[in-house]
Protein backbone atom coordinates (compact mmCIF):
# COMPACT_ATOMS: atom_id res chain seq x y z
CA UNK A 1 0.00 0.00 0.00
CA UNK A 2 2.66 2.52 0.99
CA UNK A 3 4.26 4.28 -1.91
CA UNK A 4 8.00 3.97 -1.81
CA UNK A 5 8.59 7.15 -3.80
CA UNK A 6 9.72 9.07 -0.73
CA UNK A 7 11.76 7.70 2.15
CA UNK A 8 9.73 9.66 4.71
CA UNK A 9 6.52 11.11 3.24
CA UNK A 10 4.75 13.68 5.41
CA UNK A 11 2.33 12.22 7.92
CA UNK A 12 -0.49 14.28 6.47
CA UNK A 13 -0.44 16.27 3.27
CA UNK A 14 -3.49 18.30 2.33
CA UNK A 15 -3.54 20.27 -0.91
CA UNK A 16 -6.22 22.55 -2.32
CA UNK A 17 -8.98 21.12 -0.15
CA UNK A 18 -12.49 22.51 -0.67
CA UNK A 19 -15.65 21.36 1.03
CA UNK A 20 -19.23 22.54 0.87
CA UNK A 21 -22.29 21.69 2.92
CA UNK A 22 -24.91 22.40 0.30
CA UNK A 23 -24.22 26.00 -0.70
CA UNK A 24 -22.14 26.74 2.40
CA UNK A 25 -18.43 26.44 1.73
CA UNK A 26 -16.81 25.32 4.99
CA UNK A 27 -13.25 24.69 3.73
CA UNK A 28 -11.59 27.10 1.27
CA UNK A 29 -8.52 25.88 -0.55
CA UNK A 30 -6.82 24.48 2.54
CA UNK A 31 -3.16 23.51 2.18
CA UNK A 32 -1.48 21.85 5.11
CA UNK A 33 1.46 19.53 5.59
CA UNK A 34 2.13 17.77 8.85
CA UNK A 35 5.56 16.18 8.96
CA UNK A 36 6.39 12.99 10.81
CA UNK A 37 6.65 13.64 14.51
CA UNK A 38 5.22 17.14 14.25
CA UNK A 39 2.83 18.44 16.92
CA UNK A 40 0.24 20.69 15.36
CA UNK A 41 -2.36 22.72 17.22
CA UNK A 42 -5.38 24.04 15.33
CA UNK A 43 -7.43 26.84 16.83
CA UNK A 44 -10.04 29.26 15.65
CA UNK A 45 -13.52 30.51 16.45
CA UNK A 46 -16.54 28.23 16.57
CA UNK A 47 -17.76 27.22 13.13
CA UNK A 48 -14.46 28.01 11.44
CA UNK A 49 -14.12 24.45 10.12
CA UNK A 50 -11.56 22.94 12.49
CA UNK A 51 -13.53 19.76 13.15
CA UNK A 52 -14.46 19.44 9.52
CA UNK A 53 -10.83 19.73 8.48
CA UNK A 54 -9.46 17.01 10.73
CA UNK A 55 -12.47 14.76 10.11
CA UNK A 56 -11.79 14.80 6.37
CA UNK A 57 -8.37 13.27 7.08
CA UNK A 58 -9.82 9.91 8.16
CA UNK A 59 -12.83 10.19 5.85
CA UNK A 60 -15.42 10.80 8.55
CA UNK A 61 -16.30 13.72 6.29
CA UNK A 62 -16.09 13.76 2.52
CA UNK A 63 -14.82 16.66 0.43
CA UNK A 64 -15.46 17.93 -3.07
CA UNK A 65 -12.04 18.85 -4.38
CA UNK A 66 -8.41 18.72 -3.36
CA UNK A 67 -6.18 15.94 -2.19
CA UNK A 68 -5.30 14.33 1.12
CA UNK A 69 -2.38 11.96 1.62
CA UNK A 70 -1.68 10.10 4.84
CA UNK A 71 1.89 8.83 5.02
CA UNK A 72 2.00 8.92 1.25
CA UNK A 73 -1.28 7.08 0.65
CA UNK A 74 -3.79 9.16 -1.25
CA UNK A 75 -7.25 9.16 0.33
CA UNK A 76 -9.91 8.01 -2.12
CA UNK A 77 -13.36 6.70 -1.36
CA UNK A 78 -12.44 3.09 -2.00
CA UNK A 79 -13.14 0.89 1.02
CA UNK A 80 -9.67 -0.66 1.10
CA UNK A 81 -7.98 2.75 1.00
CA UNK A 82 -10.25 4.29 3.62
CA UNK A 83 -9.76 1.32 5.94
CA UNK A 84 -6.00 1.50 5.51
CA UNK A 85 -6.02 5.24 6.24
CA UNK A 86 -8.12 4.66 9.34
CA UNK A 87 -5.61 2.08 10.54
CA UNK A 88 -2.92 4.72 10.24
CA UNK A 89 -4.90 7.50 11.90
CA UNK A 90 -6.18 7.46 15.48
CA UNK A 91 -8.89 9.84 16.60
CA UNK A 92 -10.09 11.21 19.93
CA UNK A 93 -13.45 12.96 20.09
CA UNK A 94 -14.82 15.75 22.21
CA UNK A 95 -17.59 13.45 23.50
CA UNK A 96 -15.19 10.52 24.22
CA UNK A 97 -17.46 8.08 22.32
CA UNK A 98 -16.54 5.10 24.46
CA UNK A 99 -18.75 2.07 23.90
CA UNK A 100 -21.04 2.15 26.96
CA UNK A 101 -21.98 -1.54 26.81
CA UNK A 102 -18.35 -2.68 27.02
CA UNK A 103 -15.95 -2.47 29.94
CA UNK A 104 -12.89 -0.28 29.68
CA UNK A 105 -10.83 -3.36 28.89
CA UNK A 106 -13.25 -4.53 26.19
CA UNK A 107 -13.43 -1.02 24.72
CA UNK A 108 -9.73 -1.21 23.93
CA UNK A 109 -9.37 -4.93 23.32
CA UNK A 110 -12.27 -5.40 20.90
CA UNK A 111 -10.87 -3.21 18.10
CA UNK A 112 -7.41 -4.70 18.69
CA UNK A 113 -8.81 -8.16 18.08
CA UNK A 114 -11.11 -7.25 15.20
CA UNK A 115 -8.85 -4.81 13.37
CA UNK A 116 -5.33 -5.82 14.35
CA UNK A 117 -6.13 -9.50 14.60
CA UNK A 118 -4.61 -9.93 18.05
CA UNK A 119 -5.55 -12.91 20.19
CA UNK A 120 -7.63 -12.25 23.28
CA UNK A 121 -4.58 -12.56 25.51
CA UNK A 122 -2.43 -10.30 23.35
CA UNK A 123 -5.19 -7.70 23.15
CA UNK A 124 -5.56 -7.84 26.91
CA UNK A 125 -1.87 -7.37 27.52
CA UNK A 126 -1.57 -4.52 25.08
CA UNK A 127 -4.68 -2.84 26.53
CA UNK A 128 -3.29 -3.07 30.06
CA UNK A 129 0.00 -1.61 28.85
CA UNK A 130 -1.73 1.44 27.38
CA UNK A 131 -4.15 1.79 30.28
CA UNK A 132 -1.10 1.98 32.55
CA UNK A 133 0.28 4.71 30.33
CA UNK A 134 -2.82 6.81 30.82
CA UNK A 135 -2.63 5.85 34.51
CA UNK A 136 -5.94 4.03 34.95
CA UNK A 137 -5.12 0.29 34.75
CA UNK A 138 -7.21 -0.26 37.90
CA UNK A 139 -10.38 0.83 36.07
CA UNK A 140 -10.13 -1.89 33.43
CA UNK A 141 -13.14 -3.87 34.62
CA UNK A 142 -15.45 -0.88 34.96
CA UNK A 143 -18.04 0.37 32.52
CA UNK A 144 -17.60 3.88 31.04
CA UNK A 145 -20.61 5.24 32.96
CA UNK A 146 -18.76 4.45 36.18
CA UNK A 147 -15.83 6.72 35.30
CA UNK A 148 -15.35 10.47 35.51
CA UNK A 149 -15.16 12.47 32.31
CA UNK A 150 -11.41 12.81 32.55
CA UNK A 151 -10.98 9.08 33.07
CA UNK A 152 -13.26 8.35 30.13
CA UNK A 153 -11.26 10.61 27.84
CA UNK A 154 -8.03 8.94 28.97
CA UNK A 155 -9.54 5.56 28.11
CA UNK A 156 -10.50 6.95 24.71
CA UNK A 157 -6.91 8.06 24.19
CA UNK A 158 -5.57 4.68 25.30
CA UNK A 159 -8.03 2.93 22.96
CA UNK A 160 -6.87 4.98 19.97
CA UNK A 161 -3.15 4.83 20.79
CA UNK A 162 -3.24 1.08 21.47
CA UNK A 163 -4.02 0.63 17.78
CA UNK A 164 -0.53 2.06 17.22
CA UNK A 165 -1.50 4.61 14.58
CA UNK A 166 1.02 6.79 12.79
CA UNK A 167 -0.92 9.99 13.44
CA UNK A 168 -3.28 11.00 16.22
CA UNK A 169 -6.10 13.48 15.67
CA UNK A 170 -7.77 15.19 18.63
CA UNK A 171 -10.99 17.16 18.23
CA UNK A 172 -11.33 19.40 21.30
CA UNK A 173 -10.48 16.54 23.68
CA UNK A 174 -10.90 18.65 26.82
CA UNK A 175 -13.86 20.85 25.88
CA UNK A 176 -16.44 18.57 27.48
CA UNK A 177 -14.49 18.27 30.73
CA UNK A 178 -14.73 20.03 34.07
CA UNK A 179 -11.73 22.32 34.66
CA UNK A 180 -10.11 20.04 37.25
CA UNK A 181 -10.09 17.13 34.79
CA UNK A 182 -8.58 19.05 31.90
CA UNK A 183 -5.09 18.76 33.29
CA UNK A 184 -5.08 14.98 33.70
CA UNK A 185 -6.04 14.60 30.03
CA UNK A 186 -3.55 17.21 28.84
CA UNK A 187 -0.80 15.50 30.86
CA UNK A 188 -1.48 12.27 29.01
CA UNK A 189 -1.33 14.13 25.70
CA UNK A 190 1.94 15.83 26.65
CA UNK A 191 3.43 12.44 27.51
CA UNK A 192 2.27 11.12 24.13
CA UNK A 193 3.87 14.09 22.39
CA UNK A 194 7.12 13.49 24.29
CA UNK A 195 7.21 9.97 22.89
CA UNK A 196 7.29 11.45 19.41
CA UNK A 197 3.71 10.78 18.29
CA UNK A 198 2.60 12.86 15.33
CA UNK A 199 -0.41 14.84 16.54
CA UNK A 200 -2.96 17.27 15.15
CA UNK A 201 -4.91 18.77 18.00
CA UNK A 202 -7.93 21.04 17.75
CA UNK A 203 -8.01 22.84 21.10
CA UNK A 204 -8.46 26.14 22.83
CA UNK A 205 -5.96 25.15 25.53
CA UNK A 206 -3.31 27.70 24.70
CA UNK A 207 -1.09 26.54 27.56
CA UNK A 208 -0.91 23.14 25.90
CA UNK A 209 -0.15 24.79 22.56
CA UNK A 210 2.72 26.77 24.09
CA UNK A 211 4.12 23.74 25.85
CA UNK A 212 4.08 21.09 23.12
CA UNK A 213 3.14 22.53 19.73
CA UNK A 214 5.72 22.81 17.00
CA UNK A 215 3.26 24.90 15.03
CA UNK A 216 -0.05 26.62 15.69
CA UNK A 217 -2.65 27.13 12.98
CA UNK A 218 -5.40 29.68 13.18
CA UNK A 219 -8.52 29.03 11.10
CA UNK A 220 -11.34 31.39 10.34
CA UNK A 221 -14.32 30.90 8.03
CA UNK A 222 -12.87 27.77 6.47
CA UNK A 223 -9.43 29.20 5.73
CA UNK A 224 -6.06 28.88 7.37
CA UNK A 225 -5.49 32.53 8.25
CA UNK A 226 -2.21 32.36 10.08
CA UNK A 227 0.33 29.82 11.23
CA UNK A 228 3.66 29.73 12.94
CA UNK A 229 5.60 28.35 15.90
CA UNK A 230 3.88 29.14 19.21
CA UNK A 231 6.45 31.74 20.23
CA UNK A 232 5.77 34.00 17.25
CA UNK A 233 2.10 33.00 16.98
CA UNK A 234 1.31 34.15 20.50
CA UNK A 235 3.68 37.10 20.79
CA UNK A 236 3.47 38.58 17.31
CA UNK A 237 0.21 37.59 15.57
CA UNK A 238 -0.11 39.33 12.21
CA UNK A 239 -3.79 39.35 11.30
CA UNK A 240 -6.44 41.28 13.17
CA UNK A 241 -8.68 38.23 13.38
CA UNK A 242 -5.94 36.29 15.13
CA UNK A 243 -5.32 39.13 17.53
CA UNK A 244 -9.00 39.40 18.38
CA UNK A 245 -9.25 35.64 18.86
CA UNK A 246 -6.18 35.48 21.08
CA UNK A 247 -7.47 38.34 23.21
CA UNK A 248 -10.57 36.24 23.86
CA UNK A 249 -8.97 32.88 24.64
CA UNK A 250 -6.09 34.34 26.64
CA UNK A 251 -8.44 36.81 28.46
Amino acid sequence: MTSAQDSAPPAIQITGLNKWYGLLQVLHDVNLTVTQGERLVICGPSGSGKSTLIRTVNALEGFQSGEIKVAGLRLTREPAVVEEIRRRVGMVFQQFNLFPHLTVLENCALPLRLVRGLSAAEARDRTMHYLSKVRIPEQAAKYPAQLSGGQQQRVAIARAVAMQPEVMLFDEPTSALDPEMVKEVLDVMVALADEGMTMAVVTHEMGFARQVADRVIFMDAGRIVEQGPPTTFFTAPRSDRTKAFLRQVLH
Binding site: L60, G90, F99, P111, V115, A145, A156, R159, A160
Partner: protein, 322 residues
Amino acid sequence: MHYKDNIAYPPLLSRPTVYLPVLAAVFAALWWFRAGDGALGRLVLGLVPGAEGDALNLATAACVTMLVGFNIFVVMRLPLRQQVWLVWAELAALILLFFYSFDLSFAFIQRKIGFLITQGLVTTLYISAVSIVIATVLALIGAIAKLSSNGIAQGIAHFYTSLFRGLPLLMQIYMIYLGLPQLGYVVDAVPTGIAALSLCYGAYMTEIFRAGIESIPKGQWEAARALGMRPVSVMTRIILPQSMRVIIPPTGNQFISMLKDSSLVSVVGVWELMYLARTQGQTEFRHIEMMVTASLIYWLMSIVLELAQKRIETHFNKAATR
Protein backbone atom coordinates in the same frame (compact mmCIF):
# COMPACT_ATOMS: atom_id res chain seq x y z
CA MET B 1 -39.24 3.55 42.11
CA HIS B 2 -37.11 3.74 39.01
CA TYR B 3 -35.94 7.29 39.73
CA LYS B 4 -34.80 7.43 43.34
CA ASP B 5 -34.90 10.90 44.80
CA ASN B 6 -34.37 9.98 48.43
CA ILE B 7 -37.35 11.77 49.85
CA ALA B 8 -39.56 9.83 52.26
CA TYR B 9 -42.98 10.68 50.86
CA PRO B 10 -45.70 9.07 53.00
CA PRO B 11 -47.27 6.29 50.89
CA LEU B 12 -50.31 7.73 49.13
CA LEU B 13 -52.80 5.27 50.55
CA SER B 14 -51.59 5.83 54.11
CA ARG B 15 -52.89 9.40 53.98
CA PRO B 16 -56.52 9.67 55.10
CA THR B 17 -57.06 12.36 52.46
CA VAL B 18 -56.37 9.75 49.81
CA TYR B 19 -57.42 6.54 51.53
CA LEU B 20 -60.91 7.68 52.46
CA PRO B 21 -61.86 9.18 49.06
CA VAL B 22 -60.58 5.99 47.38
CA LEU B 23 -62.84 3.90 49.58
CA ALA B 24 -65.69 6.34 48.99
CA ALA B 25 -65.19 5.97 45.25
CA VAL B 26 -65.15 2.16 45.53
CA PHE B 27 -68.31 2.29 47.56
CA ALA B 28 -70.02 4.67 45.14
CA ALA B 29 -69.10 2.56 42.12
CA LEU B 30 -70.33 -0.66 43.72
CA TRP B 31 -73.56 1.02 44.72
CA TRP B 32 -74.10 2.76 41.39
CA PHE B 33 -73.53 -0.38 39.34
CA ARG B 34 -75.71 -2.36 41.74
CA ALA B 35 -73.12 -4.93 42.80
CA GLY B 36 -75.72 -6.34 45.16
CA ASP B 37 -77.85 -7.64 42.27
CA GLY B 38 -75.32 -10.26 41.25
CA ALA B 39 -72.95 -12.82 42.67
CA LEU B 40 -71.49 -10.44 45.25
CA GLY B 41 -74.98 -9.80 46.57
CA ARG B 42 -75.60 -13.53 46.94
CA LEU B 43 -72.40 -13.83 48.97
CA VAL B 44 -73.41 -10.94 51.21
CA LEU B 45 -76.83 -12.51 51.67
CA GLY B 46 -75.09 -15.03 53.91
CA LEU B 47 -74.12 -12.22 56.30
CA VAL B 48 -77.38 -10.29 56.23
CA PRO B 49 -80.12 -12.86 55.63
CA GLY B 50 -83.38 -11.52 54.30
CA ALA B 51 -82.00 -8.34 52.78
CA GLU B 52 -83.08 -7.55 49.24
CA GLY B 53 -83.27 -4.81 46.65
CA ASP B 54 -81.75 -1.48 47.65
CA ALA B 55 -80.91 -2.66 51.13
CA LEU B 56 -78.94 -5.61 49.81
CA ASN B 57 -77.20 -3.37 47.31
CA LEU B 58 -76.18 -0.99 50.08
CA ALA B 59 -75.03 -3.82 52.33
CA THR B 60 -73.01 -5.37 49.48
CA ALA B 61 -71.32 -2.10 48.64
CA ALA B 62 -70.49 -1.57 52.30
CA CYS B 63 -69.14 -5.09 52.85
CA VAL B 64 -66.97 -5.12 49.74
CA THR B 65 -65.66 -1.63 50.50
CA MET B 66 -64.72 -2.73 53.99
CA LEU B 67 -62.97 -5.78 52.60
CA VAL B 68 -61.02 -3.64 50.14
CA GLY B 69 -60.17 -1.14 52.87
CA PHE B 70 -58.94 -3.85 55.22
CA ASN B 71 -56.95 -5.44 52.42
CA ILE B 72 -55.22 -2.15 51.60
CA PHE B 73 -54.57 -1.59 55.30
CA VAL B 74 -52.83 -4.96 55.61
CA VAL B 75 -50.93 -4.88 52.31
CA MET B 76 -49.56 -1.39 53.02
CA ARG B 77 -47.69 -2.81 56.00
CA LEU B 78 -45.70 -5.35 53.98
CA PRO B 79 -42.35 -4.80 52.30
CA LEU B 80 -42.55 -3.65 48.68
CA ARG B 81 -41.83 -6.93 46.93
CA GLN B 82 -44.36 -8.81 49.01
CA GLN B 83 -46.91 -6.10 48.27
CA VAL B 84 -46.42 -6.60 44.56
CA TRP B 85 -46.68 -10.37 44.74
CA LEU B 86 -49.65 -10.38 47.10
CA VAL B 87 -51.65 -7.93 44.97
CA TRP B 88 -50.78 -9.92 41.86
CA ALA B 89 -51.88 -13.15 43.50
CA GLU B 90 -55.11 -11.63 44.80
CA LEU B 91 -56.06 -10.32 41.39
CA ALA B 92 -55.18 -13.65 39.79
CA ALA B 93 -57.36 -15.39 42.35
CA LEU B 94 -60.24 -13.08 41.46
CA ILE B 95 -59.90 -13.94 37.78
CA LEU B 96 -59.81 -17.65 38.55
CA LEU B 97 -62.87 -17.25 40.75
CA PHE B 98 -64.57 -15.51 37.86
CA PHE B 99 -63.86 -18.52 35.64
CA TYR B 100 -64.85 -20.87 38.43
CA SER B 101 -68.22 -19.17 38.66
CA PHE B 102 -69.04 -20.48 35.18
CA ASP B 103 -69.86 -23.78 36.80
CA LEU B 104 -67.34 -25.62 34.66
CA SER B 105 -67.23 -29.37 34.23
CA PHE B 106 -63.75 -30.22 35.40
CA ALA B 107 -64.21 -33.84 34.44
CA PHE B 108 -64.64 -32.71 30.82
CA ILE B 109 -61.60 -30.45 31.01
CA GLN B 110 -59.56 -33.26 32.50
CA ARG B 111 -60.61 -35.56 29.67
CA LYS B 112 -59.67 -33.06 26.95
CA ILE B 113 -56.72 -31.16 28.34
CA GLY B 114 -54.21 -33.82 27.37
CA PHE B 115 -55.10 -33.52 23.71
CA LEU B 116 -55.33 -29.76 23.96
CA ILE B 117 -51.74 -29.70 25.15
CA THR B 118 -50.09 -32.45 23.10
CA GLN B 119 -51.76 -31.35 19.86
CA GLY B 120 -52.95 -27.77 20.31
CA LEU B 121 -50.31 -26.22 22.52
CA VAL B 122 -47.48 -27.99 20.72
CA THR B 123 -48.72 -26.73 17.35
CA THR B 124 -49.20 -23.20 18.68
CA LEU B 125 -45.74 -23.22 20.20
CA TYR B 126 -44.20 -24.64 17.05
CA ILE B 127 -45.85 -22.06 14.78
CA SER B 128 -45.04 -19.17 17.14
CA ALA B 129 -41.45 -20.18 17.79
CA VAL B 130 -40.61 -20.62 14.11
CA SER B 131 -42.41 -17.38 13.26
CA ILE B 132 -40.58 -15.50 16.00
CA VAL B 133 -37.22 -16.59 14.61
CA ILE B 134 -38.12 -15.77 11.00
CA ALA B 135 -39.77 -12.46 11.96
CA THR B 136 -36.64 -11.43 13.88
CA VAL B 137 -34.42 -12.19 10.89
CA LEU B 138 -36.81 -10.34 8.54
CA ALA B 139 -36.92 -7.38 10.91
CA LEU B 140 -33.16 -7.18 11.11
CA ILE B 141 -32.82 -7.32 7.34
CA GLY B 142 -35.68 -4.84 6.91
CA ALA B 143 -34.22 -2.36 9.39
CA ILE B 144 -30.75 -2.51 7.86
CA ALA B 145 -32.27 -2.16 4.38
CA LYS B 146 -34.21 0.92 5.46
CA LEU B 147 -31.07 2.50 6.89
CA SER B 148 -28.89 1.49 3.94
CA SER B 149 -27.94 3.66 0.99
CA ASN B 150 -29.26 1.06 -1.44
CA GLY B 151 -32.35 2.37 -3.22
CA ILE B 152 -33.66 -1.05 -4.21
CA ALA B 153 -33.31 -2.39 -0.68
CA GLN B 154 -34.98 0.70 0.76
CA GLY B 155 -37.82 0.47 -1.74
CA ILE B 156 -38.46 -3.17 -0.97
CA ALA B 157 -38.27 -2.59 2.77
CA HIS B 158 -40.64 0.38 2.70
CA PHE B 159 -43.14 -1.49 0.56
CA TYR B 160 -42.86 -4.55 2.77
CA THR B 161 -43.58 -2.74 6.03
CA SER B 162 -46.35 -0.74 4.42
CA LEU B 163 -48.14 -3.77 2.94
CA PHE B 164 -47.81 -6.20 5.82
CA ARG B 165 -48.57 -3.67 8.51
CA GLY B 166 -51.43 -2.35 6.45
CA LEU B 167 -53.33 -5.53 5.61
CA PRO B 168 -55.28 -7.39 8.30
CA LEU B 169 -53.43 -10.52 9.35
CA LEU B 170 -56.49 -12.61 8.53
CA MET B 171 -56.39 -11.27 4.96
CA GLN B 172 -52.71 -12.20 4.68
CA ILE B 173 -53.48 -15.74 5.75
CA TYR B 174 -56.20 -16.03 3.12
CA MET B 175 -53.99 -14.49 0.46
CA ILE B 176 -51.35 -17.13 1.04
CA TYR B 177 -53.69 -20.06 1.57
CA LEU B 178 -56.34 -19.29 -1.04
CA GLY B 179 -54.66 -16.73 -3.28
CA LEU B 180 -51.35 -18.38 -4.09
CA PRO B 181 -53.01 -21.60 -5.34
CA GLN B 182 -54.59 -19.41 -8.06
CA LEU B 183 -51.06 -18.96 -9.36
CA GLY B 184 -50.46 -22.66 -9.07
CA TYR B 185 -48.52 -22.60 -5.80
CA VAL B 186 -50.28 -24.58 -3.09
CA VAL B 187 -49.11 -23.90 0.45
CA ASP B 188 -50.10 -26.15 3.34
CA ALA B 189 -51.93 -24.80 6.33
CA VAL B 190 -49.09 -24.76 8.85
CA PRO B 191 -46.54 -23.17 6.48
CA THR B 192 -49.24 -20.63 5.59
CA GLY B 193 -49.62 -19.71 9.24
CA ILE B 194 -45.89 -19.45 9.75
CA ALA B 195 -45.44 -17.37 6.60
CA ALA B 196 -48.25 -14.96 7.43
CA LEU B 197 -47.20 -14.50 11.05
CA SER B 198 -43.52 -14.09 10.15
CA LEU B 199 -44.20 -11.56 7.41
CA CYS B 200 -46.69 -9.55 9.44
CA TYR B 201 -44.67 -9.44 12.64
CA GLY B 202 -41.42 -9.01 10.73
CA ALA B 203 -42.94 -5.81 9.32
CA TYR B 204 -43.86 -4.44 12.74
CA MET B 205 -40.51 -5.44 14.17
CA THR B 206 -38.63 -3.86 11.26
CA GLU B 207 -39.84 -0.52 12.56
CA ILE B 208 -38.89 -1.43 16.13
CA PHE B 209 -35.40 -2.46 15.05
CA ARG B 210 -34.96 0.60 12.85
CA ALA B 211 -35.93 2.95 15.66
CA GLY B 212 -33.66 1.03 18.05
CA ILE B 213 -30.67 1.30 15.73
CA GLU B 214 -31.35 4.98 15.08
CA SER B 215 -31.48 5.68 18.80
CA ILE B 216 -27.72 5.06 19.08
CA PRO B 217 -25.79 8.32 18.69
CA LYS B 218 -23.80 8.54 15.48
CA GLY B 219 -20.62 9.12 17.50
CA GLN B 220 -20.66 5.40 18.33
CA TRP B 221 -20.55 4.49 14.66
CA GLU B 222 -17.90 7.11 13.93
CA ALA B 223 -15.66 6.02 16.80
CA ALA B 224 -15.84 2.38 15.77
CA ARG B 225 -15.23 3.20 12.10
CA ALA B 226 -12.37 5.55 12.99
CA LEU B 227 -10.79 2.63 14.86
CA GLY B 228 -10.88 0.71 11.60
CA MET B 229 -13.68 -1.71 12.45
CA ARG B 230 -15.63 -3.01 9.49
CA PRO B 231 -19.31 -2.06 9.01
CA VAL B 232 -20.58 -5.55 9.84
CA SER B 233 -18.54 -5.68 13.06
CA VAL B 234 -19.64 -2.19 14.02
CA MET B 235 -23.26 -3.23 13.57
CA THR B 236 -23.03 -6.55 15.42
CA ARG B 237 -20.57 -5.59 18.15
CA ILE B 238 -21.32 -1.92 18.83
CA ILE B 239 -24.67 -0.72 17.50
CA LEU B 240 -27.01 -3.71 17.88
CA PRO B 241 -25.97 -4.68 21.43
CA GLN B 242 -26.68 -1.12 22.54
CA SER B 243 -29.95 -0.84 20.68
CA MET B 244 -31.14 -4.06 22.34
CA ARG B 245 -32.11 -2.01 25.38
CA VAL B 246 -34.54 -0.08 23.22
CA ILE B 247 -35.57 -3.00 21.04
CA ILE B 248 -36.39 -5.65 23.61
CA PRO B 249 -39.41 -4.25 25.48
CA PRO B 250 -41.54 -3.62 22.37
CA THR B 251 -40.28 -6.87 20.83
CA GLY B 252 -41.46 -8.76 23.91
CA ASN B 253 -44.85 -7.18 23.32
CA GLN B 254 -44.80 -8.38 19.75
CA PHE B 255 -43.93 -11.95 20.72
CA ILE B 256 -46.75 -12.12 23.25
CA SER B 257 -49.13 -10.64 20.76
CA MET B 258 -47.97 -13.08 18.07
CA LEU B 259 -48.52 -16.00 20.40
CA LYS B 260 -52.19 -15.14 20.55
CA ASP B 261 -52.49 -14.03 16.94
CA SER B 262 -51.30 -17.50 15.98
CA SER B 263 -54.87 -18.49 16.84
CA LEU B 264 -55.91 -16.79 13.60
CA VAL B 265 -54.39 -19.62 11.59
CA SER B 266 -57.20 -21.80 12.91
CA VAL B 267 -59.27 -20.36 10.05
CA VAL B 268 -57.33 -22.52 7.61
CA GLY B 269 -57.88 -25.56 9.76
CA VAL B 270 -54.59 -25.86 11.62
CA TRP B 271 -55.10 -27.91 14.74
CA GLU B 272 -53.61 -25.35 17.07
CA LEU B 273 -54.81 -24.44 20.53
CA MET B 274 -57.71 -22.17 19.61
CA TYR B 275 -58.98 -24.46 16.86
CA LEU B 276 -59.07 -27.44 19.19
CA ALA B 277 -60.64 -25.36 21.94
CA ARG B 278 -63.47 -24.47 19.58
CA THR B 279 -63.99 -27.88 18.04
CA GLN B 280 -63.46 -30.11 21.07
CA GLY B 281 -66.15 -28.26 23.02
CA GLN B 282 -68.70 -28.45 20.23
CA THR B 283 -69.61 -32.13 20.46
CA GLU B 284 -70.77 -31.92 24.07
CA PHE B 285 -71.75 -28.26 24.15
CA ARG B 286 -68.90 -27.53 26.53
CA HIS B 287 -67.55 -24.41 24.76
CA ILE B 288 -66.81 -22.43 27.89
CA GLU B 289 -64.70 -25.18 29.44
CA MET B 290 -62.45 -25.35 26.41
CA MET B 291 -62.27 -21.56 25.98
CA VAL B 292 -61.32 -21.02 29.61
CA THR B 293 -58.72 -23.78 29.47
CA ALA B 294 -57.22 -22.43 26.26
CA SER B 295 -57.21 -18.89 27.68
CA LEU B 296 -55.34 -19.99 30.75
CA ILE B 297 -52.82 -21.87 28.64
CA TYR B 298 -52.26 -18.72 26.52
CA TRP B 299 -51.85 -16.68 29.68
CA LEU B 300 -49.32 -19.12 31.12
CA MET B 301 -47.28 -18.99 27.91
CA SER B 302 -47.38 -15.18 27.99
CA ILE B 303 -46.12 -15.20 31.56
CA VAL B 304 -43.20 -17.37 30.50
CA LEU B 305 -42.42 -14.88 27.72
CA GLU B 306 -42.72 -11.97 30.16
CA LEU B 307 -40.22 -13.61 32.48
CA ALA B 308 -37.85 -14.31 29.62
CA GLN B 309 -38.11 -10.70 28.47
CA LYS B 310 -37.31 -9.52 31.97
CA ARG B 311 -34.17 -11.64 32.14
CA ILE B 312 -32.94 -10.46 28.77
CA GLU B 313 -33.63 -6.84 29.68
CA THR B 314 -31.61 -7.22 32.86
CA HIS B 315 -28.77 -8.69 30.85
CA PHE B 316 -28.61 -5.80 28.39
CA ASN B 317 -29.09 -3.21 31.13
CA LYS B 318 -26.17 -4.33 33.24
CA ALA B 319 -23.76 -1.78 31.77
CA ALA B 320 -26.19 1.07 32.25
CA THR B 321 -26.97 0.38 35.90
CA ARG B 322 -24.30 1.46 38.30
